[in-house]
């Protein structure tokens, strides 16, 4: 992959690690005089991706005991843009629903994405889960780019899911 790797970590994430990676990225931002508006965009994408990553892997941690596929996160700088990439194992059964969700988000126009975000917020207001299902929609909305993804087979039960999003200054 071309570009400079700014932040990278391979292993299981948690809240403390998310904060550490965010601090690492902030140091890079300060050193390179990146404007705060652009930083905030990358921050939103980064936090939503990492929260999705560790919340999901904690849910299926029993399934991952004997597997060697660890989650991974990185931010790669390419010209003026940042590519934010996150990977984690996922149950094959969950992958179908996730793929359909991302495909639907990628098919939306910017206007439809905004409408869908608000509809999802409204529908999810009183559901029990911590998140109302808006994380990926917010990532697409903030970055104004399509979500690239792939699923690689680990075994019959698990796939290795990678999500990649480009965040540009404007």
């Amino acid at each position: 992959m071309s570009g400079n790797v700014i932040v990278q970590y391979k292993g299981f994430f948690d809240y403390g690690l998310l904060n550490k990676l965010l601090m690492d990225f902030m140091k890079y931002v300060e050193k390179n005089n990146i404007d705060s508006y652009f930083f905030k965009k990358v921050q939103i994408v980064m936090v939503e991706m990492l929260e999705n990553n560790y919340q999901y892997t904690h849910l299926i941690e029993d399934e991952l005991k004997y597997e060697n596929f660890e989650p991974e996160f990185k931010i790669v700088n390419s010209d003026l843009d940042f590519k934010v990439i996150a990977s984690n194992p996922i149950l094959t059964n969950d992958a179908y629903q996730l793929k359909a969700h991302i495909d639907k988000i990628n098919d939306f126009s910017r206007e439809d994405l905004k409408t869908n975000y608000k509809d999802t917020l409204k529908e999810g207001m009183y559901i029990k889960n911590a998140n109302s299902g808006t994380g990926l929609i917010r990532i697409a909305k903030v970055s104004k780019n399509k979500i690239n993804y792939s699923f690689r087979k680990i075994n019959n039960k698990l796939l290795y899911y990678t999500i990649e999003i480009l965040v540009a200054p404007k």
Binding site: Y15, N19, S36, Y37, K40, K41, Q43, I44, V47, E48, E51, K114, Y117, K118, L121, K122, G124, M125, Y126, A130, N131, S132, T134, G135, R138, V142
Partner: protein
């Protein structure tokens, strides 16, 4: 009912709920480690207060409530709980109360500005979108 005050941390906002002055404030960064645990007690307090007010007063004409949201960052999980807080106040809005929602942002390009617009649309209460000085 007693007032509520929660000190801010690096990643969770300051909360002030002044029941006597009818003011609710949420200020800072909102991405607490356990978002459910953080917001649950606040929502419980707001819900009890509003149910009590409804039992006590039938008509809310002339009642004013001031809600202030001054956030520099919020994650999508927090937006769900902020909506729940607003939804409880909306019950009073529907009964004639004036609900004044001040939503602060840094820049018109800022995501927080758009978050304010989106939450206002979802909850159907007008927000005063105020640039932070």
């Amino acid at each position: 009912m007693e007032n509520l005050f929660i000190e801010p941390t690096e990643f969770s906002p300051k909360i002030i709920f002044d029941v006597k002055d009818r003011k609710f404030e949420l200020v800072g960064i909102s991405r607490p480690e356990d978002v459910i645990a953080f917001y649950e007690s606040i929502i419980y307090k707001v819900e009890n207060y509003i149910n009590g007010m409804i039992n006590e007063h039938g008509d809310f004409n002339g009642f004013k409530f001031h809600l202030k949201f001054d956030l520099s960052y919020m994650n999508s999980a927090s937006s769900k709980y902020i909506l729940q807080i607003l939804d409880h106040f909306k019950q009073l809005f529907k009964k004639g109360a004036e609900i004044n929602v001040d939503w602060y942002y840094d820049d018109i390009d800022d995501q927080i500005f758009e978050d304010g617009e989106d939450l206002s649309d979802v909850i159907k209460i007008p927000f005063n979108l105020i640039p932070r000085k």
